[in-house]
């Protein structure tokens, strides 16, 4: 099974990886708040962006990976630019939105890709993030890999058993199977956790 690890660069070692997670979280949040709340000129944003790219290279994150994440915001950029074309306004406003959005994404990427997930959860716990939500977050992270494995197996089985194109009905039945499997898995996990003395604490 091929695992598509979601934070695959967090296992590397670099000066950025070694910085205290608390400090990194605070710096990231400060950058995000600063960029979202204040009106900034394109020049200043470009300087911040260059600085972040420099930091990402110290952290050994490939630049192509960083650029590919820009696709997430492109539909919104498209909407905004069409709107500005209709109003015949200055295009630098669109550029400003693009730069703002991408700078936040870049800083988040540097933070997430240099931090191990359990460290992040621990830091959030120290900051007083609700325990219940942290439990759900760690469940999502742990069972993401298990469930993607299961999807791969199901898709493989479908490919083996039929030659025709996969229809909506088959996909939704697969999802139904996945849901039932998740429920059964949850029951087994619950029993295992209770047996090991878990009492609802993190």
């Amino acid at each position: 099974m091929k695992h598509n690890f979601i934070d695959k660069y967090s296992n590397l070692s670099s000066p950025i990886h070694k910085i205290n997670t608390k400090l990194k979280l605070i710096v990231f949040l400060a950058i995000a708040v600063f960029i979202s709340l204040f009106k900034l000129e394109n020049k200043i944003l470009l300087i911040i962006l260059m600085f972040l790219i420099f930091i990402s290279q110290i952290a050994k994150i490939p630049i192509l990976f960083l650029l590919l994440r820009m696709f997430v915001i492109l539909p919104f950029i498209f909407l905004v630019s069409v709107s500005y074309l209709i109003n015949k306004q200055n295009f630098s406003v669109v550029l400003n939105v693009l730069l703002k959005s991408y700078t936040v994404i870049l800083s988040l990427l540097i933070f997430i890709q240099t931090t191990k997930f359990n460290k992040l959860i621990n830091t959030l716990k120290n900051f007083g993030f609700p325990k219940f939500l942290l439990l759900l977050l760690s469940f999502i992270y742990r069972y993401f890999f298990v469930l993607t494995d299961e999807i791969e197996k199901l898709m493989f089985a479908v490919k083996l058993k039929q030659q025709k194109k996969v229809s909506v009905k088959i996909i939704s039945q697969l999802l139904g199977i996945l849901l039932l499997k998740s429920y059964n898995r949850a029951e087994r996990i619950n029993k295992a956790m209770l047996l090991r003395g878990w009492d609802g604490d993190l």
Partner: protein
């Protein structure tokens, strides 16, 4: 549509985050004395929704569409549990895939989580049939698209006509596909193991 950071004005950011914060606190209060057995179930279901949202398939025009699964969780576990699950899923998506921003998490949670969970659940309570769940799914997707447009409009980023025509059109397709999916998944579950529809709805 998950709005990225940098698109919303400070006043929109603050108001949506305040609403979302209130709903999260209320949900946590409702679930404070919940049975310990319920937590693994919610965790694995959250992971299921997370994987479901990654399961993108192409539609006409080169864009891809993914299911939300919000109304499904609301019907299976109740509105407050579902809203917490969706909050965690959105947070994980923002952290790991940059689908939606960190500061705009409040807006995204309002659009997707709160509307889907509460509207879906109460429509379903009105008449607990599969058709109604499908209708609720469709309605919640359209309403979330409208809300997304309105938020972007009040941030002076898009012209309302452009936003509405683009977003509503694409979400009509998403809504129809998702409601068919939800209908088939629910009838599948009803046939195979109807007991999982009988969990306590909180």
């Amino acid at each position: 549509m998950h709005i990225p950071d940098g698109f919303l004005e400070p006043k929109i950011l603050v108001s949506t985050n305040v609403i979302s914060f209130a709903v999260i606190i209320l949900s946590l209060k409702k679930l404070r004395n919940v049975d310990v057995n319920r937590i693994p179930l919610m965790g694995v279901l959250a992971s299921f929704v997370f994987v479901l949202q990654l399961f993108a398939f192409p539609v006409i025009g080169g864009t891809s569409v993914h299911l939300e699964g919000v109304v499904l969780t609301a019907v299976l576990l109740g509105p407050f549990s579902s809203s917490l699950i969706v909050f965690c899923v959105l947070l994980m998506q923002a952290l790991l895939f940059q689908h939606g921003g960190i500061l705009s998490l409040g807006a995204n949670f309002l659009n997707i989580g709160i509307v889907g969970s509460f509207l879906g659940y109460f429509l379903w309570r009105l008449k607990p049939t599969k058709i109604f769940v499908s209708l609720a799914t469709f309605a919640s997707i359209i309403i979330s698209a409208v809300l997304c447009c309105v938020e972007l409009y009040f941030s002076k980023k898009i012209v309302l006509s452009v936003g509405f025509s683009a977003m509503i059109f694409s979400h009509l397709i998403v809504g129809i596909i998702e409601s068919i999916f939800v209908y088939i998944i629910l009838s599948f579950i009803e046939k195979l193991s109807p007991n999982i529809l009988q969990f306590e709805k909180i």
